[in-house]
């Protein structure tokens, strides 16, 4: 059996590891067009701030792959011939497959702005682009950052950490309104300002200004000119579906796959940011852009490619991240009713978060610590936890395991209820009554 995995991100690596566990003799190829191979894409944010050196971005060494007899190939797959079951690479030509995985990820959307091609326009998208960004940051003094979501903040914070004066432009009147509520947005914005990042509300770029091919500033739609040598862009990502579409594989916004990660074409699978996966619970195909979920999808694809019929179970989407130095967990359904002009799907995002739960809100905030719960009739449906993360794991488990919260529901919904204390007590009791299921076990299935 010959397995060809296109893309060298976490989904492909997880699939390769899984296949090797199940099939000791099959040939496994990972074909990646990035010369750096497999690295931690979310780690780029910490590489940008200087918290880790570049070498730490690589979780595996080449010998780790050799030991598993997984062949890493640096090449670009240009085409798929599903009839003959083979792929065409730019340098190496045709490679046959018995099972093919498309795990080519998503890429940063390039907005349609005059001047977007100038040197100094940057994206926190892959390692190569991050290196270029760091080189430019060494000689730049000022930057403008646009976009909602996590990556835009990573850019703003990272450039600030490198000593640049940063202007953060928001099209709306608050940060990431599609996922955060107003209290949470304001906490983040205050911290950003405290870090020295200047926020410009209701401000859009009309044109990026250049001189000799380099960025020298931006002109805003309201006619102001902000001087800068860099423009950081994080307005969203787009799954890289062209290869699949040209091969006649069904696509929508991503490559459409069923619960077994199978595309519309036999023996071809997809996983990770490029895959739009059918979720039987909501009855439609959903995009996620979360690293741990890309890994789970890769594992599920690996099982199915190696002949074991195992469905992908997403579980409750969770992202734990830092927003303006505040650790924040977002889990389950936390939907906002307002549209967000700043972002489509961004990295570290899940469409599930934006589903509107039929729930009542319970919220408590103090200083930079905030807890917001979406309380259903019997279960907790979602939560956003900022600052103090003591309850993060407990909340995730209660939401994911659909714990019956009726004993505490009324208390949670009282005005000024001590939500954290109520939850902590309930968690103690619940844990004693239920054998804990670690999310770790689910990942390794």
């Amino acid at each position: 059996m010959q397995y060809v995995l296109v893309g060298s991100g976490v989904a492909a690596v997880a699939a390769a590891e899984t296949i090797r566990r199940l099939d000791a003799r099959g040939r496994i190829y990972i074909i990646g067009e990035e010369k750096d191979g497999y690295y931690s894409r979310p780690g780029l944010a910490y590489y940008l701030t200087g918290e880790i050196p570049e070498r730490m971005l690589f979780p595996m060494r080449p010998e780790d792959f050799r030991r598993m007899d997984i062949h890493l190939v640096h090449d670009r797959v240009e085409g798929i011939d599903p009839q003959a079951q083979r792929v065409r690479m730019t340098r190496r030509g045709w490679l046959p497959y018995d099972r093919l995985l498309l795990a080519v990820g998503a890429e940063a959307v390039r907005p349609d702005l005059p001047g977007v091609e100038l040197e100094g326009v940057v994206y926190l998208d892959n390692l190569d682009r991050t290196r270029a960004l760091l080189r430019l940051a060494r000689r730049a003094k000022e930057a403008v950052v646009i976009g909602g979501g996590i990556t835009a903040l990573e850019l703003a914070e990272g450039l600030r950490a490198r000593g640049l004066k940063v202007h953060y432009l928001l099209r709306g009147d608050r940060y990431w309104r599609r996922v955060l509520d107003e209290v949470e947005s304001r906490i983040v914005e205050q911290r950003l300002q405290h870090m020295g990042i200047r926020i410009h509300y209701r401000t859009e770029i009309e044109e990026i200004l250049g001189k000799k091919g380099r960025v020298v500033g931006v002109r805003t739609k309201d006619g102001r000119v902000l001087r800068c040598q860099m423009v950081g862009i994080a307005v969203g990502i787009a799954p890289r579906i062209a290869l699949a579409r040209e091969a006649g594989i069904a696509t929508d916004r991503g490559i459409l796959v069923n619960e077994y990660m199978e595309t519309s074409v036999p023996h071809i699978y997809a996983a990770g940011d490029v895959a739009q996966v059918f979720d039987p619970r909501v009855g439609r195909h959903v995009l996620d852009s979360l690293w741990p979920l890309a890994r789970r999808q890769g594992i599920a694809a690996g099982y199915n490619m190696a002949g074991k019929r195992v469905p992908y179970r997403r579980g409750t989407p969770l992202n734990v991240t830092r927003l303006a130095h505040i650790t924040t967990s977002i889990m389950g359904m936390v939907g906002q009713r307002e549209a967000d002009p700043d972002a489509g799907i961004v990295r570290g995002d899940s469409e599930v978060w934006r589903a509107l739960p039929d729930a009542i809100l319970a919220q408590k905030s103090e200083d930079i610590n905030s807890i917001r719960l979406m309380v259903g009739e019997r279960h907790l449906l979602g939560a956003v936890l900022m600052g103090d993360q003591t309850l993060s794991r407990a909340l995730y488990t209660l939401i994911d395991q659909r714990a019956d919260i009726r004993p505490i529901r009324e208390a949670l919904l009282k005005p000024q209820a001590p939500i954290a204390d109520i939850l902590a007590d309930f968690w103690e009791t619940w844990q004693r009554q239920h054998r804990p299921t670690s999310p770790a076990q689910e990942v390794s299935q």
Partner: protein, 87 residues
Amino acid sequence: MNMWRTFRALFLQQKTRMEGVVVPDNIRCVQCGICSYNCPIGIDVRRYAWWGKPIRDSHCVTCGECVARCPRGVLRFEVLEQTLSSG
């Protein structure tokens, strides 16, 4: 720098739970490597996190550096009865 980290780790050990073990929650982990980079002993904590396994390295002094540095709350201390008996 590393010597200083080791020294600090050993000092901190006095105040931390020596009987505990660092446990990862791998659905939160993005393999950024901050834990491994900051381990004063040089343990590849990230590898344990990938497999969702407790850091059962006899050199781990449970100094808490990885727990404190992880930007995503992946790592936590856990006091396990079996840790004590199985060493």
